[in-house]
Symmetry: C2
Subunit: 172 residues, 2 copies
Amino acid sequence: MTSTNRKKSANADAAKGFARHDHDDCMSAAMSAAEVYCAEHSLQFTPVRRRVLEILLQEHSALGAYDILEKLREEGLGSQPPVAYRALDFLVSNGFVHKIERMNAFVACAHPGRDHAPAFMICRSCDMVAETQTAPTKESFNAAAQAAGFLIERTVVEAEGLCPKCQKEDTA
Amino acid sequence: MTSTNRKKSANADAAKGFARHDHDDCMSAAMSAAEVYCAEHSLQFTPVRRRVLEILLQEHSALGAYDILEKLREEGLGSQPPVAYRALDFLVSNGFVHKIERMNAFVACAHPGRDHAPAFMICRSCDMVAETQTAPTKESFNAAAQAAGFLIERTVVEAEGLCPKCQKEDTA
DNA sequence: CGATAAATGAAATAGTATAACATGACAAGC
DNA sequence: GCTTGTCATGTTATACTATTTCATTTATCG
Protein backbone atom coordinates (compact mmCIF):
# COMPACT_ATOMS: atom_id res chain seq x y z
CA MET A 1 0.00 0.00 0.00
CA THR A 2 1.54 3.28 -1.01
CA SER A 3 1.18 6.17 1.32
CA THR A 4 -0.97 7.99 -1.15
CA ASN A 5 -3.06 4.90 -1.76
CA ARG A 6 -3.85 4.35 1.87
CA LYS A 7 -7.50 3.47 1.87
CA LYS A 8 -9.59 6.58 1.80
CA SER A 9 -12.91 5.09 2.72
CA ALA A 10 -12.33 5.99 6.34
CA ASN A 11 -14.19 9.17 5.66
CA ALA A 12 -17.42 10.93 6.43
CA ASP A 13 -19.28 9.08 9.14
CA ALA A 14 -16.65 6.49 9.63
CA ALA A 15 -13.84 8.97 9.98
CA LYS A 16 -15.63 10.62 12.85
CA GLY A 17 -15.79 7.53 14.93
CA PHE A 18 -18.89 5.46 15.01
CA ALA A 19 -21.04 8.34 16.11
CA ARG A 20 -21.31 11.81 14.68
CA HIS A 21 -20.07 14.70 16.72
CA ASP A 22 -19.09 18.30 16.38
CA HIS A 23 -15.80 18.06 14.65
CA ASP A 24 -14.73 21.67 15.07
CA ASP A 25 -15.39 21.55 18.78
CA CYS A 26 -13.53 18.33 19.18
CA MET A 27 -10.60 19.70 17.25
CA SER A 28 -10.29 23.07 18.91
CA ALA A 29 -10.68 21.47 22.31
CA ALA A 30 -7.82 19.12 21.59
CA MET A 31 -5.60 21.92 20.30
CA SER A 32 -6.31 24.04 23.34
CA ALA A 33 -5.62 21.16 25.65
CA ALA A 34 -2.30 20.55 23.94
CA GLU A 35 -1.39 24.20 24.17
CA VAL A 36 -2.20 24.37 27.85
CA TYR A 37 -0.36 21.17 28.57
CA CYS A 38 2.75 22.34 26.77
CA ALA A 39 2.69 25.68 28.54
CA GLU A 40 2.34 24.01 31.91
CA HIS A 41 5.14 21.58 31.24
CA SER A 42 7.52 23.94 29.49
CA LEU A 43 7.30 22.06 26.23
CA GLN A 44 7.75 23.74 22.91
CA PHE A 45 4.63 23.48 20.83
CA THR A 46 6.43 24.39 17.62
CA PRO A 47 4.84 25.01 14.22
CA VAL A 48 5.59 21.55 12.88
CA ARG A 49 4.30 19.84 16.00
CA ARG A 50 1.23 22.00 16.04
CA ARG A 51 0.53 21.40 12.39
CA VAL A 52 0.96 17.62 12.63
CA LEU A 53 -1.51 17.49 15.47
CA GLU A 54 -3.92 19.64 13.48
CA ILE A 55 -3.60 17.36 10.49
CA LEU A 56 -4.34 14.30 12.56
CA LEU A 57 -7.26 15.95 14.29
CA GLN A 58 -8.68 17.10 11.00
CA GLU A 59 -8.29 13.73 9.37
CA HIS A 60 -9.70 12.00 12.39
CA SER A 61 -8.41 8.69 11.16
CA ALA A 62 -5.06 6.98 11.15
CA LEU A 63 -2.37 8.41 8.90
CA GLY A 64 1.03 7.02 8.04
CA ALA A 65 4.10 9.09 8.80
CA TYR A 66 4.65 9.59 5.10
CA ASP A 67 1.10 10.76 4.52
CA ILE A 68 1.75 13.42 7.10
CA LEU A 69 5.14 14.21 5.66
CA GLU A 70 3.58 14.78 2.28
CA LYS A 71 1.20 17.34 3.70
CA LEU A 72 4.03 19.07 5.53
CA ARG A 73 6.01 19.15 2.32
CA GLU A 74 3.14 20.77 0.45
CA GLU A 75 3.02 23.46 3.10
CA GLY A 76 6.76 24.00 3.17
CA LEU A 77 7.07 22.79 6.74
CA GLY A 78 9.58 20.07 6.04
CA SER A 79 10.48 17.50 3.49
CA GLN A 80 12.57 14.78 5.11
CA PRO A 81 11.22 11.81 7.08
CA PRO A 82 12.78 12.84 10.38
CA VAL A 83 10.69 15.99 10.35
CA ALA A 84 7.53 13.94 10.55
CA TYR A 85 8.91 11.32 12.90
CA ARG A 86 10.25 13.86 15.33
CA ALA A 87 6.97 15.67 15.53
CA LEU A 88 5.12 12.38 15.91
CA ASP A 89 7.51 11.22 18.61
CA PHE A 90 6.87 14.39 20.53
CA LEU A 91 3.12 14.13 20.17
CA VAL A 92 3.08 10.46 21.10
CA SER A 93 5.39 10.96 24.07
CA ASN A 94 3.10 13.58 25.44
CA GLY A 95 -0.08 11.69 24.81
CA PHE A 96 -1.59 13.88 22.11
CA VAL A 97 -1.30 11.19 19.50
CA HIS A 98 -1.31 7.42 19.60
CA LYS A 99 0.48 5.01 17.35
CA ILE A 100 -1.54 2.17 15.94
CA GLU A 101 1.04 -0.60 15.92
CA ARG A 102 -1.12 -2.80 13.79
CA MET A 103 -1.04 -0.26 10.97
CA ASN A 104 2.17 1.63 11.54
CA ALA A 105 0.01 4.68 11.59
CA PHE A 106 -0.86 7.53 13.89
CA VAL A 107 -4.11 8.92 15.19
CA ALA A 108 -4.96 11.93 17.32
CA CYS A 109 -5.93 11.09 20.86
CA ALA A 110 -9.66 11.18 21.36
CA HIS A 111 -9.44 11.97 25.07
CA PRO A 112 -7.13 14.94 25.34
CA GLY A 113 -5.70 15.82 28.69
CA ARG A 114 -6.55 12.61 30.43
CA ASP A 115 -3.94 10.22 31.64
CA HIS A 116 -5.15 7.06 30.05
CA ALA A 117 -4.36 3.68 28.56
CA PRO A 118 -6.09 3.65 25.21
CA ALA A 119 -7.56 0.74 23.30
CA PHE A 120 -8.45 0.81 19.64
CA MET A 121 -10.96 -0.75 17.34
CA ILE A 122 -9.66 -0.95 13.82
CA CYS A 123 -11.88 -1.75 10.87
CA ARG A 124 -10.08 -4.06 8.49
CA SER A 125 -12.33 -2.96 5.66
CA CYS A 126 -12.27 0.83 5.83
CA ASP A 127 -9.31 1.38 8.19
CA MET A 128 -11.40 3.43 10.52
CA VAL A 129 -10.02 3.69 14.03
CA ALA A 130 -12.02 4.32 17.19
CA GLU A 131 -10.46 4.88 20.55
CA THR A 132 -11.82 3.62 23.83
CA GLN A 133 -10.51 3.08 27.31
CA THR A 134 -8.82 -0.01 28.62
CA ALA A 135 -9.01 0.27 32.35
CA PRO A 136 -10.48 -3.18 33.00
CA THR A 137 -8.05 -4.73 30.56
CA LYS A 138 -5.11 -3.26 32.31
CA GLU A 139 -6.13 -4.56 35.68
CA SER A 140 -6.69 -8.10 34.56
CA PHE A 141 -3.48 -8.01 32.62
CA ASN A 142 -1.65 -6.69 35.62
CA ALA A 143 -2.58 -9.76 37.60
CA ALA A 144 -0.84 -12.02 35.12
CA ALA A 145 2.09 -9.66 34.87
CA GLN A 146 2.58 -9.44 38.60
CA ALA A 147 2.47 -13.19 38.88
CA ALA A 148 5.33 -13.31 36.41
CA GLY A 149 7.17 -10.45 38.05
CA PHE A 150 6.83 -8.30 34.98
CA LEU A 151 6.56 -4.55 35.37
CA ILE A 152 4.13 -3.07 32.87
CA GLU A 153 4.94 0.43 31.67
CA ARG A 154 2.73 0.70 28.65
CA THR A 155 0.10 -1.45 27.01
CA VAL A 156 -1.02 -1.76 23.43
CA VAL A 157 -4.56 -2.98 22.97
CA GLU A 158 -5.90 -3.12 19.45
CA ALA A 159 -8.91 -4.98 18.15
CA GLU A 160 -9.23 -5.73 14.47
CA GLY A 161 -12.63 -6.38 12.98
CA LEU A 162 -15.49 -4.70 11.21
CA CYS A 163 -17.08 -1.37 12.01
CA PRO A 164 -20.87 -1.09 11.95
CA LYS A 165 -20.89 0.48 8.53
CA CYS A 166 -18.76 -2.21 6.91
CA GLN A 167 -20.77 -4.95 8.57
CA LYS A 168 -23.84 -3.62 6.82
CA GLU A 169 -22.06 -3.40 3.52
CA ASP A 170 -20.87 -6.97 3.86
CA THR A 171 -24.42 -8.11 4.32
CA ALA A 172 -25.81 -5.96 1.53
CA MET B 1 18.31 -1.82 14.54
CA THR B 2 19.73 -4.11 11.92
CA SER B 3 18.40 -7.60 11.71
CA THR B 4 21.70 -9.02 12.76
CA ASN B 5 22.04 -6.52 15.54
CA ARG B 6 18.70 -7.31 17.07
CA LYS B 7 19.39 -7.34 20.77
CA LYS B 8 20.80 -10.68 21.77
CA SER B 9 20.37 -10.42 25.47
CA ALA B 10 17.05 -12.23 25.26
CA ASN B 11 18.93 -15.40 25.95
CA ALA B 12 19.41 -18.04 28.60
CA ASP B 13 16.89 -17.57 31.35
CA ALA B 14 15.13 -14.72 29.75
CA ALA B 15 14.70 -16.45 26.44
CA LYS B 16 12.87 -19.27 28.09
CA GLY B 17 10.15 -17.13 29.49
CA PHE B 18 10.34 -15.99 33.05
CA ALA B 19 10.52 -19.52 34.39
CA ARG B 20 12.78 -22.35 33.36
CA HIS B 21 11.29 -25.32 31.62
CA ASP B 22 12.27 -28.30 29.53
CA HIS B 23 13.02 -26.75 26.23
CA ASP B 24 13.24 -29.94 24.20
CA ASP B 25 9.90 -31.12 25.46
CA CYS B 26 8.28 -27.82 24.78
CA MET B 27 9.69 -27.80 21.30
CA SER B 28 8.87 -31.31 20.24
CA ALA B 29 5.40 -30.97 21.68
CA ALA B 30 4.80 -27.88 19.59
CA MET B 31 6.11 -29.52 16.44
CA SER B 32 3.93 -32.57 16.97
CA ALA B 33 0.91 -30.42 17.60
CA ALA B 34 1.54 -28.54 14.38
CA GLU B 35 1.94 -31.76 12.46
CA VAL B 36 -1.25 -33.19 13.80
CA TYR B 37 -3.14 -30.01 13.17
CA CYS B 38 -1.96 -29.79 9.58
CA ALA B 39 -2.81 -33.42 8.93
CA GLU B 40 -6.28 -32.96 10.36
CA HIS B 41 -6.91 -29.82 8.38
CA SER B 42 -5.30 -30.92 5.12
CA LEU B 43 -2.66 -28.26 5.35
CA GLN B 44 0.77 -28.73 3.86
CA PHE B 45 3.46 -28.62 6.50
CA THR B 46 6.20 -28.06 3.97
CA PRO B 47 9.95 -28.01 4.67
CA VAL B 48 10.20 -24.23 4.79
CA ARG B 49 7.18 -23.89 7.05
CA ARG B 50 8.43 -26.64 9.29
CA ARG B 51 11.88 -25.16 9.49
CA VAL B 52 10.65 -21.66 10.27
CA LEU B 53 8.57 -23.00 13.12
CA GLU B 54 11.56 -24.98 14.38
CA ILE B 55 13.74 -21.92 14.25
CA LEU B 56 11.25 -19.89 16.24
CA LEU B 57 10.75 -22.64 18.78
CA GLN B 58 14.48 -23.06 19.20
CA GLU B 59 15.11 -19.37 19.58
CA HIS B 60 12.23 -19.00 21.97
CA SER B 61 12.27 -15.30 21.54
CA ALA B 62 11.03 -12.91 18.92
CA LEU B 63 12.82 -12.89 15.57
CA GLY B 64 12.43 -10.50 12.69
CA ALA B 65 11.46 -11.86 9.30
CA TYR B 66 14.91 -11.06 8.01
CA ASP B 67 16.62 -12.88 10.85
CA ILE B 68 14.66 -15.95 9.87
CA LEU B 69 15.34 -15.40 6.20
CA GLU B 70 19.04 -15.32 6.91
CA LYS B 71 18.91 -18.71 8.59
CA LEU B 72 16.89 -20.13 5.72
CA ARG B 73 19.43 -18.75 3.30
CA GLU B 74 22.29 -20.41 5.17
CA GLU B 75 20.46 -23.69 4.91
CA GLY B 76 19.58 -23.30 1.25
CA LEU B 77 15.88 -23.14 1.96
CA GLY B 78 15.25 -19.80 0.35
CA SER B 79 16.83 -16.46 -0.13
CA GLN B 80 14.17 -13.92 -0.97
CA PRO B 81 11.92 -12.09 1.49
CA PRO B 82 8.68 -13.65 0.25
CA VAL B 83 9.97 -17.06 1.26
CA ALA B 84 10.09 -16.03 4.87
CA TYR B 85 6.94 -13.95 4.81
CA ARG B 86 4.90 -16.69 3.20
CA ALA B 87 5.96 -19.24 5.73
CA LEU B 88 5.30 -16.79 8.54
CA ASP B 89 1.89 -15.93 7.13
CA PHE B 90 1.01 -19.58 7.09
CA LEU B 91 2.21 -20.15 10.63
CA VAL B 92 0.48 -17.07 11.94
CA SER B 93 -2.77 -17.84 10.13
CA ASN B 94 -2.85 -21.25 11.71
CA GLY B 95 -1.94 -20.10 15.16
CA PHE B 96 1.51 -21.67 15.43
CA VAL B 97 3.24 -18.34 15.53
CA HIS B 98 2.24 -14.89 16.71
CA LYS B 99 3.35 -11.58 15.39
CA ILE B 100 4.51 -9.02 17.92
CA GLU B 101 3.24 -5.83 16.32
CA ARG B 102 5.24 -3.71 18.67
CA MET B 103 8.50 -5.19 17.39
CA ASN B 104 7.66 -6.27 13.87
CA ALA B 105 8.84 -9.67 14.96
CA PHE B 106 7.53 -13.18 15.27
CA VAL B 107 7.45 -15.65 18.11
CA ALA B 108 6.36 -19.28 18.36
CA CYS B 109 3.08 -19.79 20.12
CA ALA B 110 3.55 -20.94 23.69
CA HIS B 111 0.19 -22.71 23.86
CA PRO B 112 0.10 -24.98 20.84
CA GLY B 113 -3.19 -26.44 19.80
CA ARG B 114 -5.38 -24.21 21.85
CA ASP B 115 -7.73 -21.72 20.36
CA HIS B 116 -6.69 -18.62 22.17
CA ALA B 117 -6.31 -14.88 22.19
CA PRO B 118 -2.74 -14.28 23.25
CA ALA B 119 -1.30 -11.38 25.19
CA PHE B 120 2.37 -10.56 25.42
CA MET B 121 4.76 -9.05 27.86
CA ILE B 122 7.70 -7.48 26.11
CA CYS B 123 10.80 -6.40 27.96
CA ARG B 124 12.05 -3.12 26.58
CA SER B 125 15.52 -3.84 27.90
CA CYS B 126 16.26 -7.38 26.71
CA ASP B 127 13.48 -7.85 24.15
CA MET B 128 12.28 -10.95 25.87
CA VAL B 129 8.71 -11.90 25.06
CA ALA B 130 6.40 -13.92 27.29
CA GLU B 131 2.99 -15.06 26.21
CA THR B 132 -0.04 -15.22 28.42
CA GLN B 133 -3.77 -15.47 27.92
CA THR B 134 -6.16 -12.60 27.50
CA ALA B 135 -9.57 -14.04 28.24
CA PRO B 136 -10.63 -11.37 30.72
CA THR B 137 -9.32 -8.64 28.50
CA LYS B 138 -11.34 -9.79 25.59
CA GLU B 139 -14.55 -9.85 27.51
CA SER B 140 -14.22 -6.40 28.91
CA PHE B 141 -13.17 -5.12 25.55
CA ASN B 142 -16.12 -6.79 23.93
CA ALA B 143 -18.48 -4.78 26.04
CA ALA B 144 -17.12 -1.52 24.66
CA ALA B 145 -17.04 -2.94 21.16
CA GLN B 146 -20.61 -4.13 21.25
CA ALA B 147 -21.75 -0.80 22.52
CA ALA B 148 -20.15 0.74 19.47
CA GLY B 149 -21.45 -1.94 17.14
CA PHE B 150 -17.96 -3.09 16.33
CA LEU B 151 -17.34 -6.75 15.52
CA ILE B 152 -14.05 -7.94 16.95
CA GLU B 153 -12.27 -10.60 14.96
CA ARG B 154 -8.84 -10.46 16.44
CA THR B 155 -7.16 -8.63 19.29
CA VAL B 156 -3.62 -7.52 19.83
CA VAL B 157 -2.61 -7.14 23.45
CA GLU B 158 0.97 -6.26 24.17
CA ALA B 159 2.49 -4.89 27.33
CA GLU B 160 5.83 -3.16 27.27
CA GLY B 161 7.89 -2.97 30.41
CA LEU B 162 10.66 -4.68 32.33
CA CYS B 163 11.08 -8.39 32.94
CA PRO B 164 12.14 -9.54 36.40
CA LYS B 165 15.75 -9.96 35.36
CA CYS B 166 16.09 -6.47 33.91
CA GLN B 167 14.35 -4.92 36.90
CA LYS B 168 17.07 -6.34 39.11
CA GLU B 169 19.80 -5.13 36.81
CA ASP B 170 18.30 -1.65 36.82
CA THR B 171 18.47 -1.59 40.59
CA ALA B 172 21.96 -3.06 40.76
C1' DC C 1 25.80 38.10 27.02
C1' DG C 2 27.26 33.38 27.13
C1' DA C 3 26.51 28.55 28.04
C1' DT C 4 23.60 24.86 27.52
C1' DA C 5 19.94 22.30 25.87
C1' DA C 6 16.40 21.67 22.50
C1' DA C 7 14.81 21.75 17.90
C1' DT C 8 15.55 21.72 12.89
C1' DG C 9 17.85 20.86 8.22
C1' DA C 10 19.67 17.62 5.30
C1' DA C 11 21.72 13.35 3.36
C1' DA C 12 22.20 8.80 3.58
C1' DT C 13 20.94 4.40 4.86
C1' DA C 14 18.65 0.66 7.41
C1' DG C 15 14.80 -2.25 8.18
C1' DT C 16 10.16 -4.19 7.04
C1' DA C 17 6.87 -5.88 3.65
C1' DT C 18 4.39 -6.70 -0.69
C1' DA C 19 3.30 -6.77 -5.81
C1' DA C 20 3.66 -9.20 -9.80
C1' DC C 21 4.58 -12.82 -12.68
C1' DA C 22 6.64 -17.29 -13.76
C1' DT C 23 7.34 -22.09 -12.50
C1' DG C 24 6.68 -26.46 -10.30
C1' DA C 25 4.10 -30.23 -7.75
C1' DC C 26 0.26 -32.72 -7.23
C1' DA C 27 -4.54 -34.32 -6.97
C1' DA C 28 -9.40 -34.61 -9.21
C1' DG C 29 -12.01 -35.63 -12.98
C1' DC C 30 -12.73 -36.61 -17.70
C1' DG D 1 -2.98 -40.39 -19.89
C1' DC D 2 -4.19 -35.77 -20.10
C1' DT D 3 -6.13 -31.56 -18.70
C1' DT D 4 -7.28 -28.50 -15.28
C1' DG D 5 -7.32 -26.35 -10.93
C1' DT D 6 -5.08 -25.38 -6.70
C1' DC D 7 -1.51 -24.65 -3.75
C1' DA D 8 3.27 -23.76 -2.99
C1' DT D 9 7.66 -21.92 -4.54
C1' DG D 10 11.16 -19.05 -7.26
C1' DT D 11 12.54 -14.55 -8.56
C1' DT D 12 12.76 -9.70 -9.48
C1' DA D 13 11.63 -5.50 -8.36
C1' DT D 14 9.74 -2.11 -5.64
C1' DA D 15 7.17 0.05 -1.91
C1' DC D 16 6.72 1.40 2.70
C1' DT D 17 8.48 2.50 7.43
C1' DA D 18 12.08 4.28 10.33
C1' DT D 19 16.65 5.73 12.10
C1' DT D 20 21.49 7.36 12.12
C1' DT D 21 24.43 11.06 11.68
C1' DC D 22 26.22 15.49 11.59
C1' DA D 23 25.70 20.39 10.88
C1' DT D 24 23.06 24.40 12.08
C1' DT D 25 19.79 27.19 14.26
C1' DT D 26 16.79 28.59 17.94
C1' DA D 27 15.14 28.73 22.70
C1' DT D 28 16.05 28.96 27.64
C1' DC D 29 18.26 30.19 31.68
C1' DG D 30 21.90 31.65 34.72
